[in-house]
Structures are given as C-alpha cells and as structure tokens.
C-alpha cells in the first residue's frame, strides 16, 4: 500500500476505535464492556504502531485522498514518521497502562472508570497522527485544535475537582493562542501563495513580500510555543498533571507537547529553509553563533525554557508536577537544538525528542504506580518505597539516571549531540544554558529518587503487571536506544534530517560508535567505563573495608555534621526570587485576567445603568428597583 494511504489508516484507526469505545460503553453490559474497551485500546495502539512501522523506508508520498466524503491531504515522509513513531509506540504503552490504572484498588481516585480516558487517548492518538501527516495547513489546524480538545477532556477528567477544571481551562486557552496563530499565519500566506498545501508554501516562499513572510514565520513560532510548552507559555503543563496518569504520561511525553516540536521542525527545518538560508546572522552572533534571526529566536526561547523549567522543579514537592517541570526543560533542549539548526542540530533534537518520551514517560508511569498504591502526590510524605515497590523503584532509578544523561542510557547520546551542535555553532550563551540545565536536571533527578530510600512509611505492595509492563518497556527502550542508538538514527532520524539538509555529518559503525565532526562517541563504552569504574572502586572498597571510629577535633563526625542542604540555600533562594519576580508568567496572566474581569464588570455596570433608565422611560419597574 502506498505510504499516504497507510498514513491515513494510522489516523483513522485510533479515531474509529475511539468511537467504538463510546459504542461499547453505552451498549455493552458493564463488566464485559470494561474488558472490551481495554482490549480495543490496546489493539488499536498495536495496529497503529504496525501501520507506522510499515511506513519506514517508504520515502516521501503525498496524496489527496477522499475518505467517507472527507478530503485529506496526506504526506508521509521521514520527518513525520519520527513523530508518528514516538506517539504510536508510547501511545501503545500508555493505553496498556490505562488498562491497569482504573481499578477499585486505585487509592488515588477510587471508583473512577476508564471510559473517557480510553476515548480521549485514542482520539488523541489519531489526531496526533493527523497533525504529523497533514499536508494542508487548514487540515493541520483542525487536527492541532483536536489535540487541544482531547487534552482538555483528559485534564478535566476529574472535573469535580477545582484543580482539574482550572488546569484544563488553562491548557485550552493557552494552546488556543497557538492554534489561532497557526490559523492567522496560514490565512496570511494564502493571500500571496493561493495555496494551503504546506510544501506548496515552501515552493512559493519568494513570492511573499518579506515583511509578510516575517509575520507568517513569527506567527508559526508562536503557534508552536504553547504546545511545545516554551517560555512564557509553559505554565499550563504543571497543572495538566491533574489528568489521569496514563493520559499525563501520553500528553507530556509523546503527544501534545511533541506537536509543538513538530511544528517547529516541519516549518523551520524544512518548509521555510530555502528562505532562511538567504538571511544574515544576527548581531548576537558572538553569543549565539551564526544563526539567522528566526532560528536565533527559537534557540533563545529554548535556552530560556531549559533554565526556567528545571528551576521551577526545585520548588515542587508534587510527584507529578516535578516531572512536568523537568519535561518543560527537556522540551527547551529540543527547541534549542532545532534553533541551533543544521543537520546535526535537527538530528540531535529529533533523537532527544524520542528519548524524552521514554525516560520522562517512565517517570510518569512510576509516579502513577506510587499514587495508585499510596493515594498521595506529596513527596514529603513518602520514603522507603524501594522496599515496598522494588520494580517501580528500580525503573524509576534507571529513569533518573537516564534524565541525568548517564551512559549507556539514551539521553546521554542525544544530549551529547546537542552539546556537540552548540560547540560547533560556537554559541557560548546557548551552551551555558544547556550546561546549567543539565546540572539542575541531575539535581531534580536526585530529589525525585529520594522517596525510594530511607525508612519505610507504607504497608503497600508492588503494582500489578498491567502497570509494570509499560514501565519495564519504557526502561527497555531507554537502555536499547542508549546502547544501540544507530538503530533509531539509521532508520528514522538521519533520513528525516537529511530530507531538509542533505548530508548529516554523523557516521555510524557496527557497535554504536558515532563518528561526528568533533570526535567519536560510544554510549556503551562510556557506560562500561563509568559503571566499571564504580564497580572496581566498590570491590576495592569492600576488600579494604573495616569499621573504625573517626574523631574530628575530638568529636564524633555527626556532632559536627553540616547539613548539606544548607550548601544549596543560596542557589535555592536565588531561584525562588527569580521565580516569583521574573520567570513566573502566571503573575502576569493573573493580572491580564483580572483586568479583563474588571473591564467586563465596569462595562456591565454602565450597561445596567443605561438599561435601567431605558426601562424607566418605557414605564417599567427596573428603574424603581435600582433606585
């Protein structure tokens, strides 16, 4: 089957399955229906993944296809395939997790059922495939809005809780700004190109006046920012964690946020490239390298988001929100790498995008498992979970190592490529932000794993296989992609990057040895070196270990111990001041919303006054009431 038809099926299968879930919910007996809904979810996930995998190596195929009276412009190409693959594979894991999450044993939310979760997740999966395979800008806009609606449905899942409603509304309004930007940009370019086809726009770039094209490109950047949770549109992501965990993992790791990254990759590493290549570097070149103004904006937004996102993580005690903050930061890395541009930057961004789905998605799965058993979100109330839930703890620790970019896990490879891109670009400012972000990410990783150590506080046991399998699967992917990065690079990432840039300056040998402009890299060798070193050190330690009493200045060490957290006091305080004063856009949003309400109320009062007078003139009673 031609690529475009397969891509259309990948869109349609989850959407039809979502409708099937609705049918089953309303027309099947409750108990049978529940099992059937779960089966539909997993089967649809499997089928979608199969369809996506079958697209590998098929090249570029563009077609306008009529389907049940609707017309779709579909383009299956390597760039779309990377995003499609991530959402399909992780979607399958999330749908599998979903089957075990909504049970009576779930202490976080007793008595809930999976109907809306399954429906919206499947619809979301279809819409996400629609976003990446759309060749028409208006069709892209529709799918782009559809994923906002699905997120809204998922975040407001427990709608009787204020936080869920508030989070959903915030997500919808913020992402709607992006959608409207996409719409205006699309309509604006149409006036000059007379086409809504994405690659038609690419061919007609030079027929658009440069001022208009500048506006269109800025609108497309704004279109991507809220969904890619970039500063200052990032604050909705924390509140989106009130969605059920399978949905949170899916939204935050593989779907919603990746749609924003896709827009940037599609337009600024592909569609607009012919024009962008003609632009001169900005005056900030000594700090950010020879980037054109648009890539410079993207890179600076990404760099800011890296630092802001991870800084906010330090103040979080909520087990899901802290992961959300880290996710914001990681999305900053992807945007930064896309902004840094070129074949290497795009490769790095796409690779990091795939890795992020599994490592951070795994953290969400682990958080969900803990909430499932304990019913708690506050990390201050947790400790010693390693003893209670050893497999969850083990996978969470691996995830923490992955996000700290420890080899041989996959994030190490993608972060390496990002740093290499920045070194090649000669961009000290961007490199600095990425470097600081990396250190702080390791900091929040340590904070996250603390709950697994220390004294046991709960009498809970490990979760069942439905919740464990997705965890183990994600961990396996993180390890696999770290040890064998060449698989992903060869089949998905390099074809996508070379589509726009031609040659990608990375060569791959048999054992995952990546040869790039500044040297070679083997995640496996690095991993062996690090963990081998630790093992040798530990063996040496054990062989010479003996217990002795140590005295410092005549005192036992615990008497003079210094609380290590005091070391970070200054950093913490600095970050807190920065958060409250500058970096928290919610402060400004609240002011804007407050202003809107005050205008509305004043106008309403004025209107009531006129209305009252009018009623009085007409001989009515309202004026008397008002007087």
């Amino acid at each position: 089957m031609a690529g475009a038809y397969t891509a259309l099926l990948a869109i349609v299968v989850p959407i039809i399955s979502a409708l099937a879930v609705v049918g089953v919910h309303f027309f099947f007996p409750k108990e049978i229906g529940r099992s059937v809904k779960k089966a539909i979810g997993v089967l649809a996930g499997l089928l979608t993944l199969y369809l996506v995998l079958s697209l590998i190596g098929t090249g570029i195929d563009t077609k306008v296809i009529s389907f049940f009276g609707m017309t779709f412009a579909i383009r299956a190409d390597p760039l779309a395939l990377v995003f499609s693959f991530v959402s399909a594979l992780f979607g399958l894991l999330a749908l599998a997790y979903n089957t075990g999450f909504f049970t009576p044993e779930n202490r976080a939310h007793e008595g809930s059922n999976e109907f809306r979760s399954s429906f919206f997740m499947l619809l979301f999966l279809g819409a996400m495939q629609g976003v990446v395979f759309s060749e028409n800008l208006l069709q892209l806009f529709v799918f782009y809005e559809l994923i906002s609606l699905c997120s809204y449905g998922l975040i407001s899942y427990w709608y009787h809780e204020f936080h869920s409603r508030h989070g959903a509304m915030k997500c919808l309004m913020m992402t709607h700004i992006g959608s409207l930007s996409l719409l205006v940009g699309s309509l604006l370019q149409y006036g000059y190109t007379n086409t809504f086809m994405i690659h038609g726009l690419s061919q007609s770039l030079f027929s658009i006046p440069s001022a208009v094209l500048t506006a269109v490109m800025l609108l497309f950047i704004v279109a991507a920012m809220p969904k890619a949770v970039q500063f200052p549109f990032h604050s909705w992501l924390e509140e989106a964690t009130y969605a059920p965990t399978p949905a949170t993992a899916f939204l935050h790791s593989a779907a919603l946020v990746k749609a924003g990254i896709y827009i940037l990759a599609r337009f600024f590493s592909d569609v607009f490239m012919p024009y962008l290549k003609t632009l001169q570097p900005t005056i900030l070149a000594p700090l950010i390298g020879n980037l054109d103004p648009f890539h410079a904006i993207i890179a600076l937004v990404g760099a800011t988001t890296i630092v802001v996102g991870v800084s906010f993580g330090f103040f979080q005690e909520d087990i899901k929100k802290i992961i959300a903050c880290g996710t914001i930061s990681q999305l900053g890395y992807m945007v930064l790498a896309l902004g840094a541009g070129g074949a290497l930057g795009t490769t790095a961004a796409l690779f990091h995008m795939v890795n992020h789905a599994f490592s951070w998605g795994l953290l969400f799965f682990c958080a969900g498992a803990i909430m499932y058993r304990t019913g708690l979100r506050d990390m201050r109330k947790m400790s010693g979970l390693l003893g209670n839930m050893p497999i969850t703890a083990g996978t969470a620790i691996v995830a923490a190592l992955a996000i700290s970019s420890v080899p041989p896990l996959s994030d190490f490879v993608s972060k390496w490529l990002i740093f290499e891109t920045l070194i090649n670009l000669n961009a000290p400012l961007l490199f600095g932000a990425a470097f600081i972000g990396s250190i702080l990410t390791a900091g929040i990783a340590i904070k996250m794993v603390q709950i697994y150590f220390g004294p046991r506080r709960f009498k809970v046991k490990e979760v069942g296989p439905a919740l464990l399998l997705p965890q183990v699967g994600s961990m396996g992917m993180s390890l696999f992609l770290g040890i064998f990065p060449q698989v992903l690079l060869t089949f998905l990432i390099i074809p996508a990057a070379s589509m726009a840039f031609g040659h990608v300056p990375i060569s791959i040998s048999m054992f995952g040895l990546l040869q790039s402009p500044i040297g070679f890299l083997s995640s496996t060798v690095a991993g062996i070196a690090i963990f081998g070193g630790i093992a040798i050190g530990y063996v040496l330690f054990l062989s010479t270990y003996r217990r002795v009493d140590i005295y410092l200045g005549g005192l036992k060490p615990e008497k003079i111990a210094y609380d290590s957290s005091q070391l970070y006091f200054g950093v913490n305080r600095g970050l807190n001041i920065m958060k409250i004063t500058v970096l928290d856009p919610d402060t400004y949003y609240r002011k804007i919303v407050g202003f809107g309400f005050s205008v509305s109320e004043r106008l309403s009062k004025m209107e009531s006054l006129i209305d009252g007078k009018l009623t009085g003139i007409l001989g009515g009673r309202e004026e008397e009431k008002q007087q």
């Binding site: 009276g69 609707m70 017309t71 208006l138 806009f141 529709v142 809005e145 559809l146 609606l149 407001s156 709608y159 009787h160 809780e161 204020f162 409603r165 509304m169 919808l172 309004m173 709607h176 700004i177 409207l180 719409l183 205006v184 309509l187 604006l188 149409y190 006036g191 809107g596 309400f597 205008v599 509305s600 109320e601 106008l603 309403s604 209107e607 006129i610 209305d611 009018l614 009623t615 007409l618 001989g619 009515g620 009673r621 309202e622």
Partner: protein, 379 residues
C-alpha cells in the same frame, strides 16, 4: 405550501395537543420549504419546539399554552415571509413575537423593551437606505442597540429563545447590504458581546451576550457582501444555540433557576445536557472540528486575504474572550462538585433532541464542506 402548513398548524394547535401539532407543523413545513437552508432551519425549529415542552411553569403562564404554540407558528410564518412581504411581515413577526414573550407573567418589561426597539427598527427600515440597514442591525440585536436582547432571553422559555436566536437572524440578516456601517457595528458587537458575557450571573444572560457576539459575525459576513458565509454562520449558530438553550432549559426545569452560582456539579445528574452544553460552547466559539468553525474560518479568510487584517485580529481577540467566557460558564454551572440528591436527569424529549444536536454539531463540522455546498452551492 410551507406557509400554509404553519397557518394550519396554528389553527389546529389551538384545539388539540398544541406541542405535538406545533412540532409536526414545523416538520411538515420544513419538508415543503423551497431551499435547503430553510428546510434545515425549520427542522431545527421543530426540534427546539419539541424539546421546549413544559418550558414555562403553569403558574407563570399568562394565557393558555395552546395560544402560545399558535403564536409561535405564526411568528415562524411571518419570519419566513419577511423576504416576500417586506415590512408588513416584519411587523407581524414583531407582534407575534411580543405575544410570545408576554406568555411569561414576568416578561412585561422585556416585551415592552422589545416592542420599543422593534418599533424604532421598523421606522428606520421604512426610511430605507442606510437608515434601513441600521434598522436591521437593531432588529438583529447588535451592540449598542442590544438592550432588548438580554431582557427577552433572560425571561423567555428555551423554545422561544432558540427561535429568536436561531431563526430570526437567519431570516433578517439576508437583507443587510455590504456597508461600512454593518462592519463597524459588527466589530463593536463582537467585542462588547464577548466582554460583557464573562461577567454575567445567569446562563440565559450568558447565552444572550454570546448571541450578540455571534450576530456580529453574521453582520460582518453581510457587511463584506458574502451571503454564502452568512448562511453557513446562521445555520451553525442555530444548531449551537439550540443545544445551549435546551440544556439550559433542562437545568431550569430541574432546579428552578439558572443562576450559575447555585448550579455546579449537575453534570453527574444530567450528563447529556452537560455534554451538549460543553460541545456547543466550544462549537459556538469556533473551535474545530465542530460545526461552528467553518463559517468563521471562511469569514477570517475573506477578512485576512481581503486586507482587513486588523479587523480579523479584533474578531479573533473577541472570539478568544468569548471562548473563555463560555468554558468558564460551563465549568461553573455543570462541573463543580455537588452533593445534590433527587434530580431525575433530562426528560426524554430533551435527551433525544440534545443527542441529535450533538451529532449535528460533530458531523456538521466534519462535513462542513458538504453542508456548505448543500446550503449555498459551495461557499
């Protein structure tokens, strides 16, 4: 044939089963209507009348309900003929409309206000030219001539408000001519409707200001001379508003109030009404892929490619505010926590009509191109 059916229905409804005769008369007249748009509008009108049974409590009614349904059918009859008989049928529609508003004992002030504004509108229409256009804008209820609209909506039953909101503008807006006046009033109305909506305290007043905001799009389409887009907009608006008003009616029937503060958490008891309200709230704000988005998309396209970028941006900002207002209303009215007991949920007629409207909102959006080609021959 369509008009005759309505008159026959009006006569029959006075003697037997007024609700059923009213609904059937509209359905049959829809069948005999000359064009696709009128057929669809009358079909929607029949749905709203069917769902609007027992709308106003008996003790609040000023006169017997068989008279109400007769007036309703005559109101629709006169609206359908505005295009042929000009101002005579406009006056008739105002008379019948006032009669319907007066059905509720508490609606005297609203009826008086409606009559006064409509009288001015008719005088202006008689003046012709620009004055006539202004008269039509007043009849539509656009800001700053909108004072009659929230007054009428907040005291009337759902069938009446849905007809006022859906059918009346569809029949009147077609007479607007391309003009700067229509565009300026539309721009003011879009913004004023959206801004005032967010501070309203009752569901019906929220919907009234939402209508003022929506009519701005209709007037703008006509101001730009695009009859096709206007037709798509009025049809979508009727579908959306029918869902919103019928959901509101279901709430009022159960709780006796539509004050948003006193509602909260009724979604558990009325899932279909809550779902329909939510979907309609998104649709009416132009969120794809629901029926409300397509007409607006075409209008934005015309504004932006036609060089009215700033006007389009103003409408987009207003639309954004309106979306926030609608979603906030939906959450506060339907979704908050509740320990209510003893609510029986939606009645069969409400439930069935709301399900049809949900399907129409979704399919109308997915097949927007097809729908538009049916009603305007490919907009």
């Amino acid at each position: 044939m369509s008009s005759e059916m309505l008159i026959l229905g009006a006569l029959l409804s006075y003697f037997v089963y007024p609700e059923i005769i009213g609904t059937l008369a509209l359905l049959v007249s829809a069948y005999f209507a000359g064009d696709a748009l009128t057929t669809l509008l009358l079909f929607l009108a029949s749905l709203t009348v069917w769902a609007g049974i027992e709308d106003v409590p008996k003790d609040s009614a000023r006169y017997p309900k068989n008279l109400f349904y007769g007036l309703l059918l005559l109101f629709v009859y006169s609206l359908l003929n505005v295009g042929y008989g000009g101002v005579v049928f406009t006056i008739l529609s105002i008379v019948f409309g006032t009669g319907m508003i007066l059905y509720n004992r508490e609606a005297t002030d609203a009826a008086r206000k409606y009559l006064a504004f409509m009288a001015v509108a008719v005088l202006l229409i008689l003046g012709g030219g620009m004055w006539g256009q202004l008269g039509l804008l007043i009849e539509l209820g656009l800001a700053p001539f909108h004072f009659w609209l929230p007054a009428v909506y907040s005291v009337s039953g759902s069938a009446l408000t849905a007809l006022f909101s859906g059918l009346k503008p569809a029949m009147i807006a077609g007479h607007l001519e391309p003009s700067t006046l229509a565009m300026v009033v539309a721009a003011i109305s879009a913004l004023v409707g959206a801004v005032l909506m967010i501070s309203q305290k009752t569901l019906r007043r929220v919907l009234a200001y939402s209508s003022i905001h929506e009519f701005a799009f209709v007037a703008m389409a006509m101001g730009l001379g695009n009859l096709g887009v206007m037709k798509i907009l009025v049809l979508a608006h009727f579908i959306n508003k029918a869902a919103l008003f019928i959901s509101t009616k279901a709430v009022i029937r159960q709780l006796g109030t539509d004050e948003i503060e006193k509602l909260g958490g009724i979604a558990n008891h009325m899932p279909i009404a809550a779902g329909a309200f939510g979907i309609a709230a998104l649709s009416v704000s132009g969120v794809p892929p629901l029926v409300g988005y397509y007409g607006k998309l075409l209008l934005y396209k015309q504004m932006i490619t036609g060089g009215s970028l700033y006007l389009a941006l103003l409408f987009l900002v207003a639309e954004f505010v309106a979306l926030a207002g609608m979603i906030r209303t939906w959450f506060n009215a339907f979704m908050a926590d509740s320990r209510r007991r003893g609510l029986s949920g939606e009645a069969f007629n409400e439930k069935s009509v709301l399900i049809i409207l949900i399907v129409l909102m979704v399919l109308g959006g997915l097949y927007a191109g097809l729908l538009s080609s049916v009603i305007v021959g490919g907009a």
